[in-house]
Amino acid sequence: MNPVLEIQGVSKVYHHPGKPPKQAIRNISFSAQPGEAIALLGHNGAGKSTLFRCILGLHGHDGGTIRIGGHPPGSMAAQALIGYLPEKPFFQEYLTGRELMHFHAVLAGVPSAQIEARTDELLRRVELHNDAGKPIRKYSKGMQQRIGVAQALLGDPKLLILDEPLSGLDPLGRNLVRNLINEERAKGRAVLFSSHVLADAERSCDRALILVRGELRRDISTGPAFAGLDPRRELVAAGAPGLADEVRRKGLGVEETGGVLRIELPGPELFWDLKERITALGGRVLSFGPRRRHLEDLYLAEHQ
């Protein structure tokens, strides 16, 4: 299958008069297949938005190649394949939600006869159909984010680029946008999104790319094998007084909540010794298994 997005060795340096050049991204390479959702993770200033703008042709890049469906960034053919939500969805605030959708539908090349139906469908999907007649300036931040996601979907794009799609949303809104990303992925669209909410990102992506100071440090598949790759184990026990201190003295990680201990083991080997000790202290083992691995662990490890 041909990738929708191919990025090879892309770098970007900003030159501002009177200031030293700033390397925003360096030698980034990855590709996105149809139906794949990729989360781009990194702290503020890591280069996520710069990378998005290079893909969109809004910024030039200094080295490497970018191809969208085989077309160079910024070309009409490439733009026709992309749906984009910027980090802060700034829109003409005097337009109503429906007017904004109509305006962007024309720009996205939606045939005139289909604009109304497509607008209705998308407004319904982001649950704004009842507020479509309101000016955008009266929308809450979450509503503006949702209309931003809806307009990104207008041109039936093959590649969705969503810069912080979950920011400013309440839990229901986050759930709605997460589901939308998953649905679009299931339809065969490639989705590239950035997020600071790592738990949400983890639930919506197939791969996570961790950017640190403009460099791509990790390219992690978050598929079913993701949790199993971690050799560490977690033992949950209760009713064993003094065990927490003993475990800490051995250098193991432990969390204690209401008499329940969560002990992190480097592997399965220590389990039997610990079980014996718990039993001797009058406690019991509640569970033992692979420690659930989270994107957050890897993210934090890359930033330490």
């Binding site: 733009q79 992309i82 910027p86 005097y94 720009l107």
Partner: protein, 260 residues
């Protein structure tokens, strides 16, 4: 063309909401109506005088609006980041710029038509008040020439805003307007005062639109030359469109590599 029209309509709508437009319109109405006071103390052809003063007001106000709206059309969209979602669409930068120029021009034309309507009503009023006033004054053709001039000014303001930012764009557009409007007078003055600068200035002025030839509003009262024929006007309209297209082309070149 569909995309250019969409950008133009959006720009028109945004421009019509701008307070500058309303303020300028009210100012032009005030100036035109205040003519009625002036002509009470004046001898001569009152209709022509009303036309002269009215067209001068429309010209000045139109120029002001063209410079301010033109210089802010793109820069405001960059500052508000609304340009990001637009240029992420299959929309070329040339289409975007053309849409912006056409949108501002359309707003200006609507404004000028409103001011023209006020002028027309004022002329009719003067004619009804003063017995013996000639039935008409040749003001429609000069009025159309104001539109041609406005198209050039808008496209220049957009070009300069992309090159130098909105504030400097207003100054540069005003300077270019002055150079184009008083071309001969400027050359004459330089030839007398600093002869060494005559040829460099003459070469420079070739790059400046000849607004002098589009000026048909001044001195209607004392005018001896006939106004241009309709075919002459068509040629002048083609000239102003060519100037505007050249400005759009230069804007597109400057905007092509602009990082947003």
């Amino acid at each position: 063309m569909r995309r250019v029209t969409a950008i133009a309509l959006s720009t028109l709508r945004e421009a019509l909401r701008d307070r500058i437009l309303l303020t300028a319109l009210l100012f032009a109405v005030f100036i035109t109506l205040s003519n009625l006071l002036v002509i009470n103390f004046t001898l001569g052809d009152w209709t022509k005088m009303t036309v002269d003063l009215g067209l001068a007001a429309i010209n000045g106000v139109g120029l002001f609006i063209a410079m301010f709206l033109g210089s802010r059309a793109i820069t405001r969209e960059i500052a508000n980041h609304t340009v990001l979602t637009l240029l992420a669409r299959p929309l070329s930068r040339v289409e975007y710029i053309m849409g912006k120029v056409l949108g501002v021009f359309a707003a200006l034309i609507i404004n000028m038509l409103a001011m023209g309507a006020v002028l027309w009503l004022t002329i009719k009023w003067v004619q009804s008040l003063i017995v013996g006033t000639p039935p008409h004054a040749p003001w429609i053709k000069p009025f159309i020439y104001l539109g041609m001039e406005a198209l050039i000014i808008v496209s220049l303001a957009v070009l300069f805003s992309v090159l130098a930012g909105p504030a400097r764009a207003v100054a540069l557009t005003a300077l270019t307007y002055a150079m184009g409007y008083w071309k001969d007078a400027l050359l004459g003055a330089v030839e007398t005062a600093v002869p060494a600068l005559f040829w460099p200035l003459k070469v420079l002025l070739y790059a400046v639109p000849d607004l002098q030839s589009l000026n048909q509003t001044g001195e209607l009262m004392n005018r001896f030359d006939p106004l241009p024929s309709w075919s002459g006007m068509a040629a002048d309209a083609a000239y102003s469109v060519t100037c505007a297209l050249a400005a759009v082309a230069f804007t597109a070149l400057a905007f092509r590599k602009r990082e947003l």
